[in-house]
Symmetry: C2
Subunit: 293 residues, 2 copies
Amino acid sequence: MDTETRKARASAWFRTLRDQIFTAFEAIEAESADIPVLPGAPAAPGRFQTREWTRTDATGEPGGGGTMGIMKGRVFEKVGVNISTVHGRFPDDFAKTIPGAEDDPSFFATGISLVAHMANPNVPAVHMNTRFLVTTKSWFGGGADLNPALPRAEDTADFHAAFKATCDAHGEDHWNRFSKWCESYFFIPHRNRPRGVGGIFYDYLECPDDAAFEANFAFTRAVGETFVRIFPKIVRRRMAEPWDAEARLALLRYRGLYAEFNLVYDRGTVFGLRTGGNTDAILMSLPPEARWD
Amino acid sequence: MDTETRKARASAWFRTLRDQIFTAFEAIEAESADIPVLPGAPAAPGRFQTREWTRTDATGEPGGGGTMGIMKGRVFEKVGVNISTVHGRFPDDFAKTIPGAEDDPSFFATGISLVAHMANPNVPAVHMNTRFLVTTKSWFGGGADLNPALPRAEDTADFHAAFKATCDAHGEDHWNRFSKWCESYFFIPHRNRPRGVGGIFYDYLECPDDAAFEANFAFTRAVGETFVRIFPKIVRRRMAEPWDAEARLALLRYRGLYAEFNLVYDRGTVFGLRTGGNTDAILMSLPPEARWD
């Protein structure tokens, strides 16, 4: 299979997954008539709004673009779902840090990125991102992790179990490696604590031949499908639970921590901001409201 | 004058200035009986609370410490005023980036750092910081800049005029250099805008002899005194102005921007967090409440 076919298949999948997420999350909003909501929450169930953007590469040439999707609803206080398919040439100093770009800085990247901040402090926030990168090498990366302000053992166990099953179906060591990678990646040194309660994080699943591409692409699709199945289940379990001002305050403080991680440590955020990426798309991950008090 | 005398005089000044700021800001709180306040604001005027902390140097030896001061009041939604006097040895890779520490990583640093987030969107937030550093060289640095969510020409003009007069009294080119340095330091590239409306920023005012020390120390004291005089004047001008929900929202969004700058770009914040500084003291600059929506 030629590289262009791989790029097209990956890109099409991320769009399909985006559509599935829109449908799944809007279905949850449609069930929100009788649940407790924030003061000022919309009376009608939320719907995703989309905005297209295009990118000019550092070389000055057109460099692809993407679609931001955002929903501000009754259950989802703010959820962003972005897809993008971009290409160009990495800046020289950055190229040195990317596998396969050391001598040729040309790149192609397609992916989906999602962060959901929930109105109800009992419902965990969540982050999910999967992507396919092409330099002189090509690889898949991604992950999903749960970010509750008020952790519930049952939710954490279900989230882990779902991704463990998916990992186990695609690679003997996947769960062991990718759950540990998630723990270390999302650790916040200056707070000496993890950002959330874990999940999986993986990168550099290289595709030197068709068999590897098919295996890694199948795993990446399964990660997306697992997310679409398990996260709505957890949301529905918690979305009608009442909360008080103390729980909301705990949520807002937790979101401060979440913002700290993204702005200080997250590789994609920091690199994107410092190299002229699409600021609105990059910062869609930031919480609608946060406190440091 | 020997170096220890210089260190002691600088350190004593920062404590004196801290006391003056406490007095000035608590006096403003004492005048807050009839002004509009936030829901949930304390009924009584705010008072500063202090907390001492000590530091262990990277070498494992005692490394000095500081005092955090924080007030959550009616006019001052959250203001942090920290003083610290620390010493030790810079990590090797960091030492290479610091004047006079290339071959000997020993350092001493004393200073004051202040960030005030105001309840009333009509009152500007403010940042002020001055410090004295000693390696094999020694120098003063610091600055003050105004950060209004809703800029007012009169406030900006008064703030600039006060620091221009102080600069002009201490060096022919001080205002030109330090006001421009402030503009470039506090520019937020990913938003293509400045963080605030300016002021001054200076660094590496070297003190190779007594005359230079006295001149730079006098300038640094004047910066602190100017701050204590001009900022309360602006606060009193605006603190009784009414505001509406739209203005509060503008304030919360502006604070998101402020947090972005501090977490992504601010040298002190990023270095402090990544090298095991006192997290609570470093992050006292973050806003009590912020929005990204």
